[in-house]
């Protein structure tokens, strides 16, 4: 019994529900309390301890239905066959014997006996047992389905059955032939049933695993190489990692009631109370969140990455509420308001339509930036540039970037190209590089997340 619930929880985890051992124990206690009689109640009760947000609840409910569809028949039938002393089955079996010829030969192999016993419950129990023995939960890919079906069939004693069948075929007795035909039919039916079982197990355990594998790969893959069909999935991932950053770093930092006692201020504050220390004053260090300005190149040369960078930029506004965002190809424009007022799809579409895919001019863009925002750059500001520094052979105005560097607290340059291709062709990374606190090559989601995580941590 417990094994079934443990399997269920394993399947839930495969679907991405974060279930801890403590919650597993809770779930078992819930089962104990509610009992398996009332299915709907049990579903709700276990849902209370296993699924802890609305999305998880939906996948939980879906999986519950899927999982206990099969498990129920196995459980129910095995319980019955044990408790009711299997009288009705005995009747049926004897009837089947009569149909199959009076006192005809009975199959010798184990599987044959099982098939001829005509007990649906028993075969399902046997299938489930074979599945367990073959570790069907560890199935990873859909190509493994036939393999598992084959192995399980063998585990159930298919070889012995085949042996027996060929022996029966060789015999000249009519009864033997009849038995062989019956066994063949039963064997085919069993195979069908087994394939269904494997299919179901695949849906329960392996499908989500494949998804996870793909998500992991997508995170590590170069942004320039992401296939168009994965863009949907990718944007979900971008949002996910931005959210992770947000939950890690959006803590409000306050140290008012703690810290070191500020003796001087405490004495001053209590002068009115006859020198009795009534109010305490604490020395606290306020940690300022960085003011960030992000400049994103959306020109033709980085067009493939630009979408993701913008996506990340958009999601980042939840983490860093005081982010100002700029985009440019040749003219630079501030898009903070668009990001704040529009929802993500609209904002991206508008930005891409208005500014993207034109030829790059860092000269013009940086000149614009110095007009737009240079006066607001101060020691508390972090400036992040997302761009490949490919400037169509223009000089690139590094003098402005130098000014930015002097005024800002920190200047980061994230280049989507690999470090080997910097300064090749029309890339003028070398002229900006001296005026950056850090330069990184950043061409996968994972790197982006790591760099920005660091930025937030050490701010």
């Amino acid at each position: 019994m417990q094994k079934i619930y443990a399997d269920f929880i394993h399947a839930l985890r495969q679907q991405g529900l974060p279930i801890s051992p403590a919650e597993t124990l809770d779930a078992l206690r819930v089962v104990e309390l509610l009992g398996p009689k009332n299915r709907e109640q049990l579903k709700q009760g276990m849902g209370l301890v296993l699924a802890k947000n609305v999305n998880d609840k939906l996948s939980y409910e879906h999986l519950f239905e899927q999982f206990f569809q099969f498990a129920e028949t196995v459980e129910g039938d095995s319980a019955e066959s044990q408790s009711v002393a299997s009288e009705p089955y005995a009747d049926q079996a004897s009837k089947a014997d009569e149909d199959g010829g009076e006192a005809g030969p009975s199959p010798q192999s184990e599987l044959g006996q099982l098939l001829m016993s005509n007990r649906a419950g028993a075969t399902e129990v046997a299938i489930a047992a074979a599945g367990d023995a073959e570790d069907i939960q560890n199935m990873q890919l859909f190509t493994q389905k036939p393999l598992y079906a084959f192995r399980m069939m063998n585990r159930m004693g298919n070889e012995a059955l085949n042996q027996e069948l060929s022996e029966l075929d060789a015999s000249n007795e009519l009864a033997d032939r009849r038995l062989a035909a019956g066994l063949r039919r039963a064997q085919a039916a069993l195979q069908e049933q087994l394939r269904d079982y494997v299919e179901q197990q695949y849906l329960l355990y392996a499908q989500a695993k494949g998804e996870q594998l793909r998500e992991n790969n997508l995170q590590a893959i170069k942004l320039t190489n992401v296939d168009y069909q994965y863009i949907e999935q990718m944007s979900r991932l971008v949002r996910k990692s931005a959210k992770r950053l947000a939950s890690l770093h959006s803590r409000r930092r306050k140290t008012k009631k703690r810290g070191l006692l500020d003796v001087r201020k405490t004495i001053a504050a209590n002068a009115a109370y006859d020198g009795i220390l009534f109010h305490t004053r604490w020395k606290s260090t306020r940690i300022e969140k960085p003011r960030v300005m992000v400049i994103c190149d959306v020109s033709g040369s980085v067009s493939r990455v630009a979408r993701f960078l913008l996506l990340f930029l958009y999601s980042l506004q939840d983490v860093l509420p005081r982010t100002r965002s700029f985009v440019f190809s040749s003219d630079m424009a501030e898009v903070t308001d668009q990001f704040e007022s529009l929802d993500i799809e609209q904002a991206l579409a508008e930005v891409m339509a208005k500014w993207a895919n034109q030829s790059t001019s860092y000269d013009k863009a940086l000149a614009d930036f110095s007009e737009l925002a240079l006066k607001d750059v101060d020691q508390k500001t972090t400036v992040i540039m997302l761009g490949d520094a490919r400037n169509n052979n223009g000089p690139g105005r590094p003098d402005i970037w130098q000014k930015v560097y002097r005024q800002a607290g920190r200047v980061l340059w994230l280049n989507p190209e690999h470090i080997n291709s910097w300064d090749s062709g029309d890339s003028i990374m070398a002229s900006y590089r001296p005026y950056c606190s850090q330069v990184h090559s950043c061409n996968s989601l994972r790197e982006l997340e790591r760099i920005l995580g660091n930025l937030l941590k050490h701010s």
Binding site: E23, E40, Q41, K52, N53, V54, R252
Partner: protein, 312 residues
Amino acid sequence: MIIKHGEKIASPSIIQQAFEKFGYICSDAIATAVYLSCQLQKPILVEGPPGVGKTELAKVTAKYLGAPLIRMQCYEGLDEAKALYEWKYGKQLLYTQLLKDQLGDVMRGARGLDESVERLHTFGDIFYSEQFLQERPLLQALREPEGAILLIDEIDKSDQEFEAFLLELLSDYQVSIPEIGTVKARSKPIVFLTSNNTRELGDALKRRCLHLHIPFPEPALENNIIAAQVPEMDEELRRQLVEFVHELRQMALKKVPAISESIDWARALLLLNVSQLDQKWVGDTLNLLLKYQDDVEIVEPELRKLLNSVNK
């Protein structure tokens, strides 16, 4: 929590029926959650849109079990001093002033600093003892001799630090006060936490709780709820009202009407002697259902269509 009447929480359906008598119509999921929470001694985290009866659930449970309800409203900046305990600074100050002379008497004749300090030590921590302790809701709930219902309302509004502070309380039903020691619950309270999901709560907190999500109710359930809350209302009008509100919830509004708003609206319609939903009455009372002018402007042009589908 000492449950005086064990049979009161013997099964979810008993709870459901009893709540119905108090005018709180709940789904199976809610009854199961209350049942499990009582049996497993685990807090319930109730999430859902505003106005679906999250706070009401705690109130009705308290009423049903005959236990005191201790409520703590969370807000940004809530800290231990306001949630757990505080020293009565004023009293401490007053006492030190009054006892000044006595202190002088005690210290008189002491030779040297060492002896003075030695004598002071014999006082013990009088100024940090029970008499000077101001209990706040959490401590009060722990010290309630027969247990209590503790309602921690809108936990998502509090800071993350406070959430972390709650962990010890929720898993072991005890808290540590540095000057006094660990305070263990005399009898474990039943804890309800409510959240409107303005921010995602931490996994550690969620792990310790049963998670109950109360969605907007199905029309049939809402019909029952309004019947229980506004029994004088005509059945046909009630059906129309529930369907109308249900239709509104399908629209893309800033804030869709919740159950509490439908109840208010039902009361208003009753007061105005409305017998049938028509465009004039609905238009006049729409501001009871919709709390933003933008939403009213979206719904008004659609009124005729909505009413047609409801009145057929």
